[in-house]
């Protein structure tokens, strides 16, 4: 077997797919940071919860009828949207004037609450996730990329571009930026801060749901806390590495994080340095924050 394949190609491809998942979650994180200077710790769990309700609808569990896959996916997406709006109304809005770190701690509370609710509803056992695509996109002697894996990369690319356009080209997008920079002035010109905030969180929830459904699709199962466990911290790292102020940053950051992890895991044996992926990532994050705090693609402020 070609040694190159093992040491280079495999980490690159695995890293690309894994990194795209981080990027998808990171996109929602960047959106919320860009609009409200908030790190949302519940982002991944919104995804888990949405993937879970999609699975309920797919399998006809509890109050859900046994729906076909597209409708089940819709249920999942609506859950994400609803969660985003609910969190905004119940937790974020009352804390408008509070310190940002307080809001961050509150989102960590939301994370725990969602894990608990998911646990009550679904139980601790892993549940089969909704299977969107069944086939293999690419199979060679040394690599296998499933259709779901390929889909994740495509969806991330499309969403990253779309959201970048949204913020630069649409009225609503620019309004969100305006609110984040000058809430009072924005109010004066007739833009509702409340509505903008709700809109942002709704979109973030939707993005979380998309990430959750796709990621649980690649893993095959979903259980309370699964996405938080798998992807939350790498997604944060991706967002910060790429630059929390730039939406395509999440894309770049995610892919970089995925590849770094995969390279380290493949090439540094566990008995030499356990958790090598995490160590390399920590160092990378530290260096970026110390040297270029705005991230790879972010603007210095």
């Amino acid at each position: 077997m070609d040694p190159m394949a093992l040491e280079v190609v495999v980490p690159v491809v695995s890293g690309l797919i894994q990194g795209s998942v981080y990027g998808l979650l990171g996109l929602g994180l960047v959106l919320l940071y860009k609009s409200g200077k908030i790190f949302n710790f519940s982002q991944a769990e919104i995804g888990t919860f949405s993937a879970m309700t999609a699975a309920f609808a797919d399998q006809g569990v509890g109050p859900f009828p046994d729906l076909p896959v597209p409708l089940a996916l819709l249920v999942g997406l609506l859950t994400g949207l609803g969660l985003g709006l609910l969190i905004e109304r119940v937790v974020v809005r009352p804390l408008f004037s509070a310190a940002k770190v307080t809001v961050v701690v509150a989102t960590a509370g939301v994370l725990l609450l969602l894990v608990a609710l998911g646990g009550f509803l679904s139980g601790p056992e892993p549940r089969s996730a909704v299977r969107i695509l069944e086939g293999d996109f690419l199979t060679t002697s040394s690599l296998r990329v499933t259709d779901t894996g390929a889909l994740v990369v495509v969806v991330l690319a499309v969403l990253a571009v779309a959201s970048a356009l949204f913020f630069s080209r649409t009225r609503t997008g620019t309004a969100i930026i305006a609110v984040s920079q000058e809430p009072t002035a924005t109010r004066l010109v007739g833009i509702s801060v409340e509505r903008t905030s709700a809109l942002t969180w709704g979109i973030a929830g939707l993005l979380g749901a998309i990430a959750g459904i796709l990621l649980s699709g690649t893993v095959g199962v979903v259980f309370p806390g699964s996405l938080t466990f798998i992807a939350l911290v790498p997604a944060f790292t991706a967002a910060v590495l790429g630059g929390v102020t730039a939406l395509p940053g999440a894309f770049v950051g995610g892919v970089v994080v995925g590849m770094i992890e995969s390279f380290a895991q493949t090439n540094i044996p566990k008995d030499v340095l356990p958790g090598s992926g995490k160590v390399v990532l920590f160092v990378a994050l530290l260096v970026v924050l110390l040297v270029r705090p705005a991230g790879l693609l972010g603007k210095e402020t």
Binding site: G62, D271, L273
Partner: protein
Amino acid sequence: MTAVDARATTPAEPAPAHKQGRDFGPIRWLPRILVLAVVAYIFLWRIPQDEGGAAAIAADACIYAIVGISLNILIGHTGQLSLGHNGFFGIGAFAAAYSLTVREVPFALTFVIAGVVGALFALVMGLVALRITGLYLALITLVFALTLEESLFEVEWLTNAGAGQPADRPEWLIADSNFFYFCLAFLVVAVYIDYRLLKTKTGRALLALKENERVAEAFGINVTAFKLIAFVISGTLAGVAGALLAYRIGLVTASGLGFNLALTFVLMTVVGGLGSRIGVILGASLFASLSFILEETWMHEVQQFLVGLLSFGSTSAEANLTQYAVGFLGALGLLLTIVQFPGGLGQQLRAFFDWTWGKPFDVHALLHPQDDGPGAVEGSSVRA
């Protein structure tokens, strides 16, 4: 508990109301002494009787409370959000277990080692905190702890990887009741350190740092030094608490020291009430014993009933869902605290504590805890 309540007499605090309420005759003191006696009886005598049960949980509560005080120094006093306290705690636990079991260091010395190692790691984080602030600092502490968990805590010579590093207690501490008193002694020391810290110039400097670093600097406060001091003291306490945990369980593994623990630490401190020493201790005790309360007491029936209502998609028996009930209540407590009662438990129960300390019972403070009276808990919300 006198050390805990010592803040009431702290001259640094404007507390005229306390002084007014001081001149009682013995009749007014009697009910207070009775209440304190009952509390002391329950906590110092009744609970330790339940060997292996409540006594062990009480030891946990003391350990968590030390972590709470440690975390409070950073978040409550200095305004640095650390999401990586499980890292300092864990490294202390491993350092103690390793030095005792592998290096055969005397028992007492393992606490010194745990404290020093915890302080060193915290110092590193403190250096990082000089450059990186606010949310980014929170993130970097989180990733730092996660890296420790997956890397250092899996290094075989130190931790036996998944198998865990044993830490057997010496003979005289085998009984859980003895171990509880042992932990309690550490807690008293931690409270005293925290109390002294706030009373001194350092404490005032830290509070100034928290309000506004630049202003503090302009007033001639050495931001660098005081930030590092706060990190080092906090890391030492967390490391020692980690050592206590190692002996409490008898085995340290990485899996018990994850992100969840970091969140629990932050949660209990915020729910307890940032800046309020007794609030933090209460919050920590509550979180340490929550699963015990929900599983082993009459609360179990209540919890089972509620869980039963919700668990439509689960094939598990309700008993398996207890762990989620703990998270649910913890998270709910946190959100309520942040959104509705930013002062936390410390402020909620303030009227009661003040009463036991000689002040008239302030019903108003109990019903409207958001009205910050004189001497209200400082630092009632986290600031970036």
